[in-house]
């Protein structure tokens, strides 16, 4: 069984994004970049499937600038087998990303696409669902537990107010939520080994997908700042202020 894992290079989780003064976007120059945390969880899950003997090959794919190769290497160091970089120096919208990934999934003959539920830059939470639609495969999003066997996946999903268990036929698209697993740190020997693993470089045009943006970004602005209020001395003063001053109790 072949598992395809798309990964995205994004601003590091711990770095605060800053808006460019001309409001054209977020300033990513000289900012630490890392693998999107939800993608890390998906990579970990795919590698565990391989370790359990369920998956035979884990293929990592990323769409992004040349530096996204580092993100693929990180995934290979975690246990991925080989990588595909679809190079693009401009932002690719979720719809075009889904179209590219659909082409790769078909090319590779993947049985499962395991991916993060959202990237922490665009916060769209859309690509997995769109990919499943384009491939006409079933989807199981926001997974907190995945069991694969007998041509099916049984997925426990995080839904509003609790959990839902869904059974889907393979091939399928599964998107990872936070509690699916805790991703491993790659060991030094595995990081060294990953350097020798194959990464194929492609262009968006190789898949015949039109990646021209559909949305026009008019501006990117900073949200209104919330200013710090007052410090209270004790709980009694707090309750008094909430009752009289704020009027919320």
């Amino acid at each position: 069984m072949k598992v395809l894992v798309p990964v995205k290079r994004v601003i590091d989780y711990n770095v605060k994004a800053r808006v460019k003064p001309d409001q054209s976007g977020v300033d990513l120059a000289n900012v630490k970049m890392s693998m999107n945390p939800f993608c890390e969880i998906a990579v970990e899950e795919a590698v565990r499937l391989k370790e359990k003997g369920v998956a035979t090959e884990v293929v990592i794919v990323s769409i992004g600038p040349a530096q996204a190769q580092e993100t693929i290497r990180t995934a290979l160091a975690m246990g991925g087998d080989r990588g595909i970089l679809i190079q693009s120096d401009t932002d690719v919208e979720p719809l075009a990303v889904a179209k590219l990934l659909a082409a790769v999934a078909k090319d590779e003959g993947a049985d499962v696409v395991l991916m993060g539920k959202q990237a922490i830059d665009g916060d769209n939470n859309a690509v997995g669902q769109m990919l499943s639609t384009l491939l006409d495969w079933p989807q199981a999003t926001f997974a907190s537990k995945v069991e694969i066997g007998g041509g099916k996946a049984v997925v426990t999903r995080e839904v509003d107010g609790g959990l839902q268990v869904l059974e889907v036929d393979l091939p399928a698209v599964i998107t990872a939520d936070l509690r699916l697993n805790e991703p491993r740190y790659a060991s030094l020997p595995n990081i060294m080994k990953a350097k020798k693993k194959e990464i194929a470089t492609k262009a968006t045009g190789d898949y015949g997908v039109d990646v021209a943006p559909r949305l026009k970004v008019l501006k990117v602005a900073e949200p209104a700042k919330r200013s710090a209020g007052v410090k209270v001395e004790n709980a009694a003063e707090l309750v008094a202020k909430l009752k009289t001053e704020a009027g919320v109790l």
Binding site: Y13, G122, A126, G161, L215, V220, K231, L238, V239
Partner: protein, 309 residues
């Protein structure tokens, strides 16, 4: 132009996230219909018919849409989408599950988590965990949006729209097996007037229950948690407030033992009044708190309980 709002409901109840999404739809067009999906969902459809400004309610029923199966919901919406210029979906987990599918079928670029309708084709949405607000314009023939309910006022009730029934689709390759809903008498997190949240400082699931839950019950509040507390296993994931969890905007948000990581602030900074209790005076949560109490929660929460009487 005509807009289709997909309701957020179980069979018996319509959630007010629907009313809020109708408000966003009315900012785009006067012709707003509401689609209620479910199985035996007449009560939810009747509630939707009362929302002010709604032209018509469409009730689509099947077992699969009743279980929230995305493929079935998407195909049902696609069957109706030809009559509309935009489809608006509340940005709940359920809504985010199927809205992008609808967009993919229509070859549209979905716009997630809209917090402001600038015009019928221009919208504002948060990116980078709310650290930036992006204004985007779409030329898609049928626009597909998810709407962040906390950013809009709920539409009133007093209407009497007609309810029309249509058949809903089924899913061939996905099957619902079971669900486990958290049973609680507390208000729903995203709809609550008051939210009490606990962070990693709680140190254990036991302590979380002993400290946060009684205070929440005293205030009639919903219980929330930071991602750190959820990751540590002190609270279930559906308590999680933040970029990767739920976005809340109650009248009063009380953060206890929460440092205030960017990702948490993204989920609660639009609350009307924010209270922070933390023993670290330099915790970033104090930079957004209207009222800060620098104290160990172990002493402060019992005192707060006593002061509330």
């Amino acid at each position: 132009m005509a807009v289709l709002v997909v309701a957020d409901n179980d069979n018996a109840h319509l959630r007010d996230t629907t009313h809020k999404t109708v408000t966003a739809a009315l900012a785009m067009s006067g012709d707003v219909d509401v689609l209620v999906l479910g199985q035996g969902a007449d009560a939810a459809a009747a509630a939707a018919a009362k929302i002010d400004g709604v032209r018509k309610v469409i009730l689509a029923e099947s077992a699969d849409v009743g279980h929230g199966i995305a493929e079935a919901i998407c195909d049902t919406i696609i069957g109706l989408a030809g009559g509309y210029d935009a489809v608006l979906v509340p940005a709940t987990s359920a809504g985010k599950n199927f809205a992008p599918r609808v967009a993919a079928k229509l070859d549209a670029s979905p716009i997630s988590d809209v917090i402001e309708v600038v015009s019928a084709d221009t919208f504002v949405r948060p990116i980078y965990a709310g650290n930036a607000l992006e204004t985007v314009q779409t030329a898609d023939k049928t626009k597909v949006l998810t709407v962040r309910p906390t950013a809009f006022k709920a539409a009133g009730e007093g209407g009497s729209a007609s309810v029309e029934k249509v058949a809903a689709a089924s899913a061939a390759k996905s099957r619902f097996q079971s669900e486990e809903m958290v049973k609680s008498d507390r208000p729903e997190l995203t709809a609550a007037k008051i939210v009490v949240s606990g962070g990693r400082a709680m140190g254990s699931a036991d302590e979380f229950q002993k400290v946060i839950e009684p205070l929440a019950d005293k205030l009639g509040a919903a219980v929330g948690a930071s991602r750190a507390a959820v990751d540590a296993g002190y609270a279930p994931n559906d308590y999680q407030v933040g970029q990767t969890g739920k976005v809340v905007a109650p009248a009063l948000y009380i953060a206890i033992g929460i440092s205030g990581a960017i990702q948490h602030l993204a989920g609660m900074k639009d609350s009307k009044v924010i209270v922070a209790i933390n023993k670290d005076a330099d915790a970033p949560i104090f930079q957004v708190a209207d009222y800060g109490l620098v104290a160990d929660y172990k002493a402060a929460v019992p005192e707060l309980m006593a002061a509330l009487g």
